[in-house]
Amino acid sequence: MNIYVCIKQVPDTETKIKLNSDNSGIDTAGIKWIMSPYDEFAIEEALRLRDKNPGSTVTVLSAGPARVVETIRTALAMGADNGIHIETPESADNNRAAKALAGALKKEPKVDIVFTGKEAIDDGAAQVGQLTAEYVGIPHVTVVLAVEYGATSLKCKREIEGGAFEMVETPLPALIAAQKGMNEPRYASLPNIMKAKKKEVKALKESDIGTSDADQKIRYKNFQLPPAKQAGKKIAGDPATQAKELARLLHEEAKVI
C-alpha cells in the first residue's frame, strides 16, 4: 500500500504567544516547534497499517516554510519511510496549504490512503484535511477513532456530538482525519532517529505544483491576544441570596444564561 500522512508543524503547547509588529500574525521568534499532536495519531495509524501489509510505504507530507523539514524528520524518526516538503509562505492559509498538499499527492504514482490529524492545534481550523481530500478527489472521514481495513473499503468509527459515535463506510482511496484515542503514538527509537537524519526529504516549490498567492483566501490582520484572566469573585450571603446573585451575574455580566 502507498500510505500518505499530511502533517503540520505548530508552536509547542507551552509557548507564550506574542504578536508580530503589525498584528498580522504571531511572533515566531524563540518558538519551539512541534508536530501537531493529532498528526501523531495519524502517523502511528499509518505505521501500524504499513507493518500489517508488507511491502507498503509511509510518506509524510508537510506544507510550510523551510523549518517544517525538522518536523518531517520527527515523523521519519517515528518510522515513516519518505518525506515531502512543499515550501509555502509563513502566512499561507488553509486553502493554500490544502491545495499544495493535494498537488503533491496528485504527483504521486498511486495513493491508497491518506491520514491526517482532525485539526492542527495552532489555528484549530479543521479545514485542511477535508479540503485536501476534495482537491485530490477522494472521500474523507473526520474525527476518526478506529478503522476496520478492508481490501477496497474502510469502516470508520467517528465521534459525533453528544458523546455518540457513528460508523461510516467509504471506498478506497480515502482520507482519514485522526482523533485522539485512535492509538498511542510511539516514541522514536534511537536507531530510527539516526536513520531519519540520513533520509532524503523531497523538496517541492509551489511553482512545481501550480499553487500561488492566488490560492490565498484569507488575509490576516489585527490579531489580538485574549484578555488577561480576571480574579475570581466570591459571592457572599445565605444560599438563597448567593444563588440569586449567581444567576444575575451569569445572565447580565457573563451573558451565558
Partner: protein
C-alpha cells in the same frame, strides 16, 4: 608410594580437571560479554587494603553481627583447615611429605588452630542451619543449594574429627595434645576397645572420606552459589572505590555500535558477570530495597540471580558464538515491572558485602527498552518530550524559568558574570510552587552572607538526570552537552545547588562530557557559611526535627553530616533520627526517574518513609532535596498530619533563624 598414591592421583586429577573445566566455561562466558566495563586497576594500594580488610578481615560481612561472626568463623576456619588439607593431599601422595618442616612449636600451633576451627565451624554451621531452617529471615529465602553446602561443610568437619580421633587413639603422634577437640573424640573412641589395626584402618578410611568430600566440593562449587568463594575476592578488588559514581556513558559518535543498552545478557559486561558469580544470595540487598519492601516485584538479590540464570540458560548459544539465539534479558522473571521499580537509591549496593553493583544492570536494561524498543511507562513519553522541547521534565516554557525569583533582583550570568558562585536552580526550584519557596529562602541566605552569585536564567536546562535514570541516555547527553557548553562559555568554576540530583549529575557525571566544576550542595555551602560565621542562626526554634537523607546526597555522595550540622546550628532545636538513617536511610521513592512515573504496585514508598518520620514524633521533617520535599509533603498530607508536621528544607529553617 603406596596404593593410596595410585588411587589418589587419578581421582584428584579427575576432580580438579572437571572443576577446572567448569571454571573455564564460567571464564569463557564472562569473556563473551560485549558491554564495556573498566578494568579497575588504578589506586592499587587502596585496592589491596580494601581487599585485605573486607576479604581476610571480613569487615563488610561483619556489619551484621551474628551472621557475620558465623561467616567469618567458617571463612577463617577454611583458610587454616585448607593448609591441613594440602598437607593431607601431599601426605597421601608421598608418606614423608608434610608441613612439619615449619618447626615443632609452629606445627603444634597450626594443628591447634585447625582443631579449634574444626569445632568452631561445626558450631557456626549449626547456627547457620538454625537461621535457615528455624528463624528463616525473609531475605534469605529457601535454597537447596545453601543446605547442600552446609551439609558438605558439616560432613567435612565431622570427617576430620573422626579421622583425627582414630589417628590419635591408634598412633598417639607427638602433637596429640595440641588437638584438644580431636583428643576428646579419641578418648571416646578408646572406650569402644577396638584393636589398634582397626582404629588405624578407620583413620585412613575417614581421611579418604574427607579427601573425597573436598574433591566433591571442588566439583560442586562452579555449579553453585558457593562460587562466591572464588569470585568474591576479585570482585572486591575490582570494586568501584569511591562512593560517588557516574553512570557508564555511551559513545553515540561510534557508528560501529548498533545496540544501546542491554537487550541480551551478553550486552552487559564481564564485570556484571563477575557480580553474579560473586553473589551468594545473602539477601542483605533485598532487606533494604525500598521497592521490595513495598511489595514491588523488584528484588536486587533476585535480579542478580535471574540474570545469572539467564546466562546459564544461554550458555550453549553464547559459547558457540550464536548471539542471535540468545534469549532476551527481559523474560519470565526479569519483567518490565521489575526494571521500572528501581529508585536508584543504591541501598542494595551499600549493603552488599561483596560489592555487587545491582543498579548498573537495571539501568543498562532500561537503556535498551527506551532507546532501542521504545518500551517504557506511558507517562514518561510526556516527560521526555517536555525535556526535548523545553528542557524541563514538567510542562513549562523555558522562558518562565527565572519567574520564581520575581522581586528578589537575582541577576543572571548574562547580566553579571562577576560572581563567587553560580546558583544552579534546577527544574523543581524553577517551576514547582513548593520548591520555589526553598529557592527564595536559599537566595535570601546567600544575600545575608554577602555572596556574589548569579543564575543562568533561561539559559539553564534540566541536567538530564531524569532522562538518564529512565534509560534515555541520548536525551541526557543532548541536555548535558548543552548545559556544559553554557557553563564553559561563562567560564563557571564553582556551582551551588539545592537539588541533590543536579548536584550529583553536574559534579560526577558531567566530567565524562567535558564539564569539570567545583560543585557544592546547598547543605555543604550553608554549613560552611555558618562555620565561617557568615550566617548566624540566632532565633531559637523550640521544635523537634528529624532529617530525611536524600539518596543522591547520602549514598551517592557520602554527604550525611553537613545537613545535620546545619540543623543542629539552630538554637534550642532537638534532633531525632528516623529508624533508617544515614547509609541505611530509606528512599522517598522519587529517584531513578520514579518522580515522573505512577506508582501502582504495592504500598507507596513515600508513605513508608513518612511513617518512619511520623514515628519520631518530630514536628518538622527536614529535607534537602526537592523531590524528597514533594514526596514527604505528599506523604504527610496523605496521613492527614499536615497540621501537626511540617516538611521544610534546611535552607528555610536557617533563613527563618537568621537576620
Amino acid at each position: 608410594m603406596t596404593w593410596q598414591t595410585f588411587l589418589f592421583l587419578p581421582v584428584a586429577a579427575a576432580a580438579f580437571g572437571y572443576s577446572g573445566y567448569r571454571f573455564g566455561i564460567l571464564f569463557r562466558l564472562m569473556k563473551a560479554h560485549h558491554g564495556k566495563a573498566p578494568m579497575r586497576l588504578d589506586q592499587l594500594p587502596q585496592r589491596i587494603t580494601t581487599t585485605v580488610v573486607n576479604v581476610l578481615g571480613q569487615q563488610a560481612v561483619l556489619r551484621k553481627k551474628w551472621v557475620g561472626i558465623m561467616h567469618a568463623t567458617i571463612f577463617w576456619g577454611f583458610i587454616v583447615i585448607t593448609a591441613g588439607t594440602i598437607e593431607q593431599f601431599l601426605n597421601t601422595i608421598h608418606s614423608s611429605w608434610n608441613l612439619a618442616f615449619v618447626g615443632e612449636s609452629a606445627y603444634s600451633a597450626l594443628v591447634f588452630v585447625q582443631d579449634f576451627f574444626t569445632f568452631a565451624i561445626l558450631f557456626a554451621v549449626a547456627g547457620a542451619f538454625y537461621r535457615r531452617l528455624v528463624l528463616r529471615p525473609e531475605g534469605l529465602g529457601k535454597s537447596k543449594d545453601a543446605n547442600i553446602v552446609l551439609i558438605f561443610t558439616a560432613a567435612l568437619m565431622v570427617s576430620i574429627f573422626l579421622m583425627n580421633g582414630f589417628h590419635l587413639s591408634s598412633d598417639q603422634p607427638w602433637f596429640q595434645n595440641s588437638l584438644p577437640f580431636s583428643n576428646f573424640v579419641a578418648s571416646i573412641i578408646t572406650g569402644f576397645g577396638l584393636s589398634p589395626e582397626t582404629q588405624h584402618a578407620l583413620a585412613v578410611f575417614f581421611k579418604w572420606i574427607h579427601m573425597l568430600l573436598v574433591l566433591g566440593f571442588a566439583v560442586y562449587i562452579p555449579h553453585s552459589k558457593h562460587l562466591h568463594i572464588v569470585a568474591a575476592a576479585p570482585n572486591t578488588f575490582l570494586k568501584h572505590l569511591p562512593r560517588e559514581k557516574a553512570m557508564r556513558p555511551i559513545n553515540f559518535e561510534d557508528e560501529s555500535v548498533t545496540q544501546y543498552g542491554a537487550a541480551k545478557i551478553t550486552d552487559l559486561s564481564w564485570k556484571d558477570t563477575l557480580d553474579y558469580y560473586a553473589c551468594t544470595e545473602c539477601g542483605r540487598c533485598q532487606d533494604v530495597c525500598p521497592a521490595w519492601n513495598t511489595q514491588k516485584p523488584l528484588s536486587p538479590k533476585l535480579i542478580i540471580k535471574d540474570l545469572k540464570e539467564n546466562l546459564y540458560k544461554n550458555k550453549t548459544a553464547i559459547l558457540a558464538g550464536k548471539t542471535d539465539d540468545v534469549t532476551p534479558v527481559i523474560d519470565n522473571n526479569v519483567t518490565e515491572d521489575v526494571i521500572w521499580a528501581c529508585t536508584s537509591c543504591r541501598a542494595c549496593e551499600v549493603a552488599c558485602p561483596v560489592f555487587i553493583e545491582q543498579t548498573d544492570k537495571i539501568y543498562d536494561i532500561r537503556r535498551n527498552l527506551v532507546m532501542m524498543e521504545s518500551r517504557f511507562p506511558a507517562e514518561l513519553q510526556t516527560v521526555f518530550k517536555n525535556m526535548e522541547i523545553n528542557g524541563t521534565p514538567w510542562a513549562f516554557n523555558n522562558s518562565e524559568r527565572a519567574n520564581w525569583s520575581e522581586g528578589l533582583s537575582v541577576q543572571t550570568m548574562s547580566q553579571n558574570p562577576e560572581i563567587d558562585v553560580l546558583l544552579w536552580v534546577g527544574c523543581a526550584g524553577s517551576f514547582d510552587d513548593r520548591n520555589k519557596k526553598v529557592l527564595r529562602s536559599f537566595t535570601s541566605l546567600l544575600k545575608k552572607a554577602g555572596i556574589r552569585f548569579a543564575i543562568l536564567g533561561n539559559e539553564e536546562q534540566c541536567t538530564g538526570d531524569p532522562a538518564r535514570r529512565a534509560g534515555n541516555e541520548y536525551l541526557y547527553q543532548t541536555l548535558a552537552k548543552a548545559n556544559i557548553e553554557t557553563l564553559n562559555r561563562y567560564n563557571v568554576k564553582k556551582i551551588v545547588t539545592a537539588c541533590p540530583h543536579c548536584f550529583n549529575t553536574i559534579k560526577n557525571e558531567y566530567k565524562d562530557f567535558g564539564g569539570s566544576y567545583e560543585v557544592l550542595h546547598h547543605s555543604q555551602f550553608i554549613a560552611q557559611l555558618i562555620s565561617e560565621g557568615r550566617l548566624k542562626p540566632s532565633k531559637g526554634l523550640d521544635e523537634t526535627v528529624t532529617f530525611h537523607d536524600s539518596c543522591y546526597l547520602g549514598r551517592w555522595n557520602n554527604v550525611y553530616e553537613q545537613p545535620r550540622d546545619v540543623i543542629k546550628s539552630l538554637p534550642s532545636i532537638r534532633m531525632v533520627e528516623m529508624k533508617s538513617n544515614h547509609e541505611q536511610s530509606l528512599c522517598c521513592g522519587a529517584g531513578g526517574g520514579r518522580m515522573f512515573m505512577e506508582e501502582t504496585i504495592g504500598k507507596r514508598i513515600n508513605i513508608a518513609r513518612t511513617e518512619q518520620a511520623l514515628e519520631t514524633k518530630a514536628g518538622i521533617v527536614a529535607s534537602s532535596c526537592p523531590f524528597c520535599m514533594t514526596m514527604m509533603s505528599d506523604g504527610v498530607k496523605t496521613k492527614e498530619m499536615q497540621d501537626k508536621v511540617k516538611v521544610m528544607d534546611i535552607a528555610e529553617l536557617i533563613d527563618q533563624a537568621t537576620s
